[in-house]
Subunit: 205 residues, 2 copies
């Protein structure tokens, strides 16, 4: 199997958010599709072990904020590369709550869907949630961020002289997990999201 074939799948980039009581949290995903009509339902895949799918399982509610091209890498990093168990990811972000009290972005997103879970499948590395769309709003006319555009234009480029610096660790480009050490074993699999060594990028000291 040539895993590079997976890079040819086209995706948007989304903030999936949920709540449990007063706790709110969100995470970044590139997997959201309309799965059915009458009623409209979305399917999203979330990495198991993350805090957001835990909240979704508790409340049965989630929002999908469709990120647009105005989003900065800082916002992606704030939501995508730390855990909401330890920090308030929405601190400093412009957001609102939907009718069920679930947060969504009011900046850097061109649409939002408020969903109630109608089904879920645990796939080991991820849980696939099916959510009925209770409400949907267009938030701006900005174009949607694509995963390809995120990779080419939003994510910072490694510094030109990076090769001269010392490698002190490796970061998973998919979920942000960091491996400490100069040499990443070729058969390494990310313990968080299961992606292989080729999906890691060096961290320079």
């Amino acid at each position: 199997m040539d895993r590079k074939a997976l890079y040819n799948l086209e995706y948007g980039v989304f903030l999936v958010a949920s709540k449990d009581g007063d706790r709110i949290n969100g995470c970044i995903t590139n997997t959201c599709i309309q799965a059915a009509a009458n009623p409209v339902r979305l399917a999203i895949a979330c990495i198991n072990g993350n805090y957001t799918p835990e909240l979704i399982k508790k409340s049965g509610l989630f929002t999908v904020s469709v990120l647009d091209k105005s989003v900065s890498f800082d916002t992606i990093r704030q939501f995508g590369m730390q855990s909401g168990r330890d920090t308030d990811k929405f601190a400093g972000q412009k957001y609102a709550l939907d009718d069920n009290g679930v947060p969504f972005l009011t900046e850097n997103a061109n649409a939002v869907f408020s969903c109630r879970v109608t089904g879920s499948t645990d796939l080991g590395s991820h849980t696939l949630f099916i959510g009925e769309v209770l409400d949907a709003k267009v938030l701006s006319g900005e174009k949607s961020l694509t995963y390809a555009y995120y990779q080419s234009d939003v994510k910072p480029r490694p510094a030109a002289k990076a090769a001269e610096k010392k490698i002190i660790g490796w970061k998973c480009k998919i979920c942000g997990y960091t491996y400490e050490g100069a040499e990443l074993p070729a058969d390494f699999l990310c313990p968080l999201c299961g992606h292989p060594a080729e999906d890691f990028e060096p961290i320079y000291g």
Copy 2:
């Protein structure tokens, strides 16, 4: 609910194909995501009533050909706007069979995934299939077709003088279903894919 929010979801465009004995068939979908890792699994949504999901349910096998920007509207129409119950959709197309005998495109596609169904959920209008990826190949360096690019650059524009012609029917832009009659009721929902009147375009006589 503002259904236009759904237009902000980004998609690729795919040929999903299957077989049953000697019968092979395929249909166009814009919903394919990687849903999980270890093993890699894809999720696809297929319109119920179509012939291809019927074959997938019988054989438990499918391929996903990732359409690239070289594809013509004729190929999209051949696979997407007629039923394989009545015709051999692969006639005249360049294709091959994978190890399980399931067809995939060898032209106009930049990657192919061979999958075995590991789960499915009937969502009424659609069935969501989860398939374990048995094999994956990169077929070309051509860029993937996006649904947005299909809408803007692949699909023929209505003729400039179309407005002067007589409307004799309406075609669903999503699945190709045709409604006969000059006036489409504003609350009409496509009986095949459930999309509303605003997703229909006029057919001129």
